[in-house]
């Protein structure tokens, strides 16, 4: 089934799955294709503005770009896995 995912009145994603959770709502193929068409015509984000899709109007609206979070590595096991993948290429 095709679905749309809405969070705080923002349509964050569409997709296709045989099982969906509480965050997803089943939609028709027609609605899916309509939303996909809107997504493919999303305005370009800028240095200070990002665009999000209003779930009710299906129009992109500007938002202030949030600061990017700085995440520090917290797990040495993860670091070692990443290093191994980087060195082996897989």
């Amino acid at each position: 089934m095709k679905y749309k995912q809405i969070e705080d009145n923002i349509l964050v994603a569409i997709g296709e799955s045989k099982a969906i959770g509480e965050e997803q709502t089943e939609i028709t193929s027609e609605e899916y294709n309509n939303i996909l068409s809107v997504i493919h015509n999303k305005p370009e984000d800028t240095e200070t503005i990002i665009y999000k899709l209003n779930a009710e109007t299906l129009e992109y609206e500007p938002y202030d770009r949030p600061e990017e979070p700085v995440i520090e590595p917290t797990d040495p096991v993860i670091d070692s896995i990443i290093s191994e993948v980087a060195s082996n290429g897989y």
Binding site: Y3, Q5, I10, L11, V12, A13, I14, G15, E16, S17, K18, A19, I20, G21, E23, Q24, I35, L36, V38, I39, H40, K42, D45, I50, Y51, K52, L53, E68, P69, I71, P73, T74, D75, V77, I78, D79, I81, I82, V85, A86, G89, Y90
Partner: protein, 297 residues
């Protein structure tokens, strides 16, 4: 069963199933100096069988069949054998066959049997070998062919003058698992991967996950996962509890086309895979790009 769509053939339309398409040709192959038994069949016929013989034959390159010309028909009772004449061509069951034998230049030195061992040509004197005729098939690879219909082409068979072999498709057994689901999602905005719920239809907590962008763009950046070749996670100890926190390694290509990597901590459940906190660089999912999520257990 969910399938991975194939994009073989360099830009040809996608299809659920893929085959290798070959041109083929049959050529006549003869093995002279045979001094061993040649079995036409190892199944006991339990009845008389017909055999055919002639002094000449023709070969059909299209079918790979040897065809006796003006053959004489004879019968071998079950449990018996016959000793054919010298320098004749013999086929069994039909005057047109994939296997043909030419007897030696001396008669009475080999016997054609029809008994409990099957139907076979038995050499009685190794000093008088016979010749075995068979067909040899030569395949020449042309291209990959795809179709959404599983029976569109044969697996190891001929259709329309070409030979087809089914191409193996991704299946969970390749990874030691028995179950697989393939689902898709397309973000509407450039979105941080972490803390986002992605549904999957596996029905249980995944033990192996691949996430890939179905469309690969030529322009890449380090932080956008639109150009992921694949990101994978191996979670062999997944339990039946609600969620598991595991590392997730993403591999992507930078603007210089060198491989990059990144790591994410992810939470899993039986219905959704949720991105956890990023480890080093932040990873974004690119708006408008369709991602495929493949889960196995």
């Amino acid at each position: 069963m969910l399938q991975i769509k194939n994009t073989l053939g360099g830009g040809k339309p996608e299809g659920l199933y893929a085959w290798k398409k070959h041109s083929y040709a049959f050529t006549e192959k003869s093995t002279s100096g045979m001094k061993a038994n040649t079995f036409i069949t190892t199944e006991a016929q339990n009845k008389p069988i017909k055999y055919y013989y002639s002094s000449s034959y023709s070969y059909d390159n299209n079918t790979g069949m040897f065809v006796l010309e003006n053959p004489t028909i004879n019968t071998i009772p079950y449990g018996a054998g016959v000793s054919p004449s010298a320098n004749i061509y013999i086929t069994v069951f039909s005057p047109s066959s994939e296997i043909m034998i030419k007897t030696s230049n001396t008669s009475g030195k080999s016997t054609l049997y029809n008994d409990s061992l099957g139907v076979y040509f038995h050499i009685t004197n190794a000093n008088y070998p016979y010749t075995l005729f068979e067909s040899e098939t030569t395949l020449s690879f042309i291209d990959y062919i795809v179709s959404d219909k599983e029976t569109a082409y044969p697996d190891g068979g001929e259709k329309g003058g070409y030979w087809y072999e089914r191409v193996a498709e991704l299946n969970p057994q390749m990874f030691g698992y028995t179950k697989m689901a393939v689902d898709t999602f397309t973000p509407s905005s450039d979105t941080l991967f972490r803390n986002w719920s992605i549904p999957h239809s596996l029905g249980e907590i995944p033990k192996f996950v691949i996430i890939r962008a179905k469309s690969i763009t030529s322009y890449v950046t380090t932080k956008y996962a639109e150009t992921w070749n694949f990101g994978f996670l191996h979670n062999p100890d997944a339990s039946s509890s609600a969620s598991i926190s595991m590392s997730f390694t993403c591999i992507y290509y930078t603007s210089s086309l060198s491989q990059g990597h990144d790591g994410l901590s992810m939470l899993f459940s039986s219905t959704a895979i949720m991105g956890g906190s990023s480890v080093s660089n932040t990873i974004y999912l690119k708006s408008g790009v369709e991602y495929e999520i493949i889960t196995m257990a």
